[in-house]
Structure formats: C-alpha cells, structure tokens
Point group: C2
Chain length 442, copies 2
Amino acid sequence: MIDLLIHRCEVLKVSAAQVETLADYDILIEGNRIAAVQPANQIDLSHAHQVIDAKGLLAMPGLINAHAHVPMVLFRGLAEDVSIDRWFNEYIWPLERNLQPEDVYWGMLLGLAEMIEAGVTMVADHYFYMDRAAAAVERAGTRALLGWAVFSSSGLDALERTAHFASDYRSAAGGRISTILAPHAPYTCDDDYLRAAADWARRLNLGIHIHAAETKYETEASLKRFGRTPIQALEQTGILDRPTIIAHACGATEADIALIGNYPVSIAHCPKTYLKLAMDIAPVRAFREAGITVGVGTDGAVSNNTLDIWESLRLMAMMQKDRAENPEVMTIAEALTIATHESARAVGLKGQIGALEQGYLADIILVDLGGLHHQPLHSVGASLVYAARSTDVQTVIVDGRVIMRDRQLLTLDKAEIIANARAAMDRLSQRRVEERIQTYNP
Amino acid sequence: MIDLLIHRCEVLKVSAAQVETLADYDILIEGNRIAAVQPANQIDLSHAHQVIDAKGLLAMPGLINAHAHVPMVLFRGLAEDVSIDRWFNEYIWPLERNLQPEDVYWGMLLGLAEMIEAGVTMVADHYFYMDRAAAAVERAGTRALLGWAVFSSSGLDALERTAHFASDYRSAAGGRISTILAPHAPYTCDDDYLRAAADWARRLNLGIHIHAAETKYETEASLKRFGRTPIQALEQTGILDRPTIIAHACGATEADIALIGNYPVSIAHCPKTYLKLAMDIAPVRAFREAGITVGVGTDGAVSNNTLDIWESLRLMAMMQKDRAENPEVMTIAEALTIATHESARAVGLKGQIGALEQGYLADIILVDLGGLHHQPLHSVGASLVYAARSTDVQTVIVDGRVIMRDRQLLTLDKAEIIANARAAMDRLSQRRVEERIQTYNP
C-alpha cells in the first residue's frame, strides 16, 4: 500500500542546465520517503491510503531556509532604517535581553507557521533556548537543523550545555530535527572559545553554524586588530575542519574564498538583509566558481521582515546580475538549483531533500501557477523565480505528512500563535540598552 | 446621503517625516470623492447607501504604477537571462510584431486584473493600440494615464493619430482616463519627430511620457554619436517644456539631473527591470535632492514578470540603501511618500490621488495586516514597505466604486480573461526576428 499519492501533478525537475516539468505525473509516498515518481494512472487509486488530486498544481521540493533566527519574528519591524552598529547595539541585543524560553517557543511557532504558508519545509535555525524551538518544530511537523547560539561571554559552560543539547536532539522529532553547534561569530567568540567549539563538534561529530565576514568592515577590523580575516580565524581555530555553514561572508576576500574552497564549508546567502543593512552583496558567483556550496536563507525577520525564501531566491538572482553588470549570469536554472539541490547540501541533507526523486524524503509542496500574475504561463522557471508569491503555495508535505492543505494549516492553530505573540509584544519591545546581551564592536 | 461609508478602519497618513495611522476611523465617500475622514460613529450608518465594515483593515491610497506597458503581460516569461540588446532585438520587438488590437485589449484586462488584485488603482501606461487599452480601463473601472507609443519609423501620420487619440480620450471613462503623448525614446525618435511630438503636446495641452537615458551605455552612445546626452536631446527638441514623465534615467549624468530639475519633469522608477537587465540603479536620492519628482513603477511584465508595485517600492528603498552604502537613507516614510504623494504628482494627479483626504478622489484600498508575516505588528510602516504582499489587499475602491471586495473582482471575469490570454499564447510567442517592429541600437 502507498501511504500518500499525489495524483496528476506536474513535477518540477531542476538542474543547473535547465528547468523541466513532467506533466500528469503521480508521486507515491511510503512512510516518510518518495517511493516513485511516475506517469499518472500506472497505479490504482485504491492502493493508496490518502490521495491528493493535484491536477493543475506544480509539485516541487519543499523550500529550504539555510539561515534564520526564526523566533526573531517577535521583534519584526522594531529596527528599521538604522546602521548595522545601531541595529545590534541599540536594538537587537537590548531587545533580546527580554527573551524568555516561552517567547522562543511561540516565536518559533509563529515563524514556522509563516514558513509553512510560504512552502518552506526546512530551516537551519540559529538562536537561543533551542530546546523550546525543538518543541515547536516537533509540533509544527517541519524539518529543522537547530543550533543554540553562544558567545564567549556566555562562558564555556554554556558552550557545553549547547553541545549537550545538540547531542540530545540530534535526531529528535522522529528524525526531522538535526543539530549543529552555533558559536555566534569570530567577533563575539575569541579563539579559545572557537577552539572549544571545534573540539565539541569533533567529539560529537557535529557541524558548526556561524556568522563570519558579515561585512567588509568586519574583515578590515579583524585584519587591523588581529592581522587576519574572520575567515582565517575560523581556519586557525579548527572550525573549518568541521562541516560548517558560514552565514553571509559579504566581506570575504579573494584569498578567503580560495581558502574556504579547501574545507567542507557552505555559505548561507541572505540578500534581503544585505540590502536593508547596506552590507554589500556576497559574491555568490565567485563562491560557486571556487566550488563552494551556497544555500539561500532569509536571516531573521528583524532585518528581512519576513521568512520568505521566494523573495531571497529572487533577490539573489537579481543582485548577482546587478553586481556582474550582466543580465545573462545567474540564470533561472542556476537560481533554482541553488534553492533546491545546493541548499539541501548546505544544510547537510544532500541526496535527502531538495529534489523529487525516488528514495528522497517526502518534503513536497504543491504550487498553483494559475494566478493572474503567472498568466499566460509561458515559462514555469521564470514564474517560480520572478513572479511566485508565498500565497501560491497550496499544500505542504513534510516527511510524508500533509501539514498544510489548500492553505489550511493542519498542525498549528494560527489564532493561538498570534494571540501569544501579541501578548508578549509590549514586554519584548523594551530596549534595554544598558543590559544588552552583547556588544557589536568587531 | 453618503454613497459609501468605509467604517471603523485604520487610516494611513504618510509624510516624508513619518508614517501615522488613525485608529477606528470612518471614510465617507460622495460620488467619486472623499467627503470626510473622521473618527468612527460620528455618522449614523443609515445615512450611507453602502457600508463596508473595515474593522481590522488598514485604509490607504490606491497604489499608483507610474510606468508600465501593461499588455506585455502577454509575453511574460518569454525573455529571461538575456542582455538588453538581445532582449529588444531578439525578443520584445520580434514578439510585438504579432500584436493585434484585440491582444492589447485582453492583455490590458489581464494586467489590470492583476493590478487590482494587488491594490494598484492607477497606471501610466505606454503601449500600442491604446484605444483598445482604454476600452479595457473603461471595463475594469480603474484609473489610467494612457499614451500610444510611436517611433520615427511609425511616421508623422502615426504621431498625429496618437495625438488625436490623446485628444479624444483625454477624459474618457467618466474622467478616469487621462492621456499623454508617448514617443518611445530619443534613440528611436529623431529630433524632428521629437519636435513634432512636443508641438502636438503644446497644441493639445498634453504631457509626454518617454523613455530616456535608460542606461549609461545609452548616454555614452548618444554623446559619441550626437555630442549630447539623451536628456539634452529631450531639452533641445522641446520635450522637456511639456509636463514629462521620463522612464528610467538610470544613465542620467549629474549635469542631466541639474538640467531636469529646471523643467516640469517626473521620473518613473522601475527597479526590478534595472536589476533583471543589469541596467544599474537610477539615483533616486540625487533626483529628489535636485527637486525632481520621482514616482514608482513596474515597467512591463517581460522585464518585471509581474505588475506588483509593493515589490517595486521595496526594491526602490533597498537599492537606494545599497547604492548609498547607508541603511539610514530612503526611510520607510520617504519610500511611502514616493509611492503615494510623489507618484500621484508624477502621473499628473497631485492633490487628486495618493492620500486619503477630504476632496481627494476616492481611490482607496483596504489592506489586511493580520497575516502571519506581519505578526506581531510592531510597525505598520515597516510592514507596508518590507513585508506586505499583493494578496494582503482585500478591497479596492476606484473613483468611489468598489471594484474588488474581499479579494473578489467585481468588474472583471478572471476565467474569461485568462482563457483569452491563453488562446493567443502560441501565436504571440513566435519570435519574428526579421520582421521586428524596431531595432535597438542607441
């Protein structure tokens, strides 16, 4: 018996060379995996426990958010039109002083619900109180790679606690949760701390998710202060020997890029943050030419304002054209490859998610390209990269389970989540500048 | 009696200094104008013919698209990842050879329907067969400034016909349509033709809507060939003496900007096109510092892919931050001012649309900021610029008439429009390169 049959859909097939669709196909799901992708009507519908009639819908891999701080949705809209220095020192870190574990739980649920509605089935999240974030992921039914953020100032005992979290939750939620260590950045973690994190990662066979070279200013400051770039700091402390996700790297030098190419490192690219905070745009094409995996992310909603991967994908493609002064680069096929296969690799799930293939985990979204803004539909690829909206996503399946159907969330109660987020608004919006959790001074 | 009462809404008030909202307000509409904006419950509901209960919704001015080629939605997705030269010579102009008047009618309806769904109530449109576009506007119930595009190669008789069109339709559709002359660009219209267009504009008391200085390359080519910039060509031929909308001006020099500031000229800014075609970003801040009005537009859907002004607005703000390398510039209040007051001025309707004030035309949209992607709603302004989606628009009123209610189009039949657009797909997608309507060689 087939557990779930997605019947008569169009199936998206992405490679760096081209975007194709297979019309009138069935996707057969057994347990949490894709059992077959085949022309429709080769199987009798009575052989499936559950059938989704997907005629007129495009089936594609669930979107992957390769870098976020999901619970920051709680602070959405509170830090606008400010310099990166003020953003950290007067807004984010003073605001985060207010966080309680239950805020993270509700903030995570709010952000996960927003992402489910947008077709995002997997997120690499980097934040605090991640045991509560894990509880939210368990409830939402999505997939997540969770890292508990720490600074040097948190102390080595905090690092150890986050290592225990990572060890304890490494295949939680029936395997939907994976874990990673999450020292914040070379400018908030000194060398001893980074070495200790690399040690824990080696001992527990974990990767590391860290911010580095966020801006050219950070790179210059590091060179001036320590005679090395932030990327070199990661190399010297052993971080890069572990499978590592580096968020941003807008300030990576040419030498940094060559260096990164020698290690098992992926870069998470979050272009909306870079534009809003004028951080310059990371050189995605140069990364890829150096053989570095690039995944696409949103970053937190205090810089991005949403957790919309469609928008990140679109901005990535457009900004690479802009920076190259060449509209022929970063084609639709390449952009979709990055958002699917490459983002899967970035979050450590190469060959598991990011494509609709037999044996892959059944993380699938059904997208309606019938809206006016796609008509007439000359090009599915162009519509996905340049016209699609979150609201085009109709149905979301994660790990073989339907968690949104016809835009109705099946695992989460929107009203309850919104009520809880609103209840904490006033308390969470107090800027406790003198008590901020950290200082930005790279 | 009040014709239409928008009851218990929140009202958006935008100035360059700040974004405010008035909670629990009524908007009273008599005929096609706003009669009052006042605290709720000062008027008995029985005094209104029609009442919209807008509790929980934000009322704001209908969005304005200051530059588009709406019927190009018919070619959406057909010209991707190509240079601007190939975009014109191998795609757009060969494709446009296929256009018949009825294509423009259905393409215009398709694009108008897409815009209504996105809260766009007014468009400055620049295209062919504009009598058919006018028929579509008449039917859709929106507002439009229509210009019939011509090239030198169209001949002076064609220019004269477009002038007659502009004269005949100058207050068509009960005043919802205004008209303008639309010579294509200095690189497709020679000096005699531009002078003739300026003459017609003067004689008929009309403005001019034209492309110029689209790229730095165009400016350099013009300097090399004619010893003057495209903007100087407009000045020398008398175009700038008329109220003029210049689309793009990404290639405007500092001297051009100073020059433009001396004339009744607005610039229509369409950043998604600039990114997708790597045209560089027009210096909006420099325009505004020179006292030049800037309105925001989408351009056609073959470069933009959609007609979504929310996205144009967001990209405008983010790209100005990017180019200035300063996140504190182009604040939320300034971006919203450009999208409302300034765009109204750009399309010749200053003091008529772009604000919810007594005496203004009743072009109003009701926006739901209750979606997950806005929660918790700390900042209405931040949500409008950085999180809002077309689908947040619930209800659209133009000229006092409700044309979309709870996301249902009331004037147009979506299925009929889509069927007509699809029926023409194959015919319209033939690239008749040898028969292209024009050649790009600025």
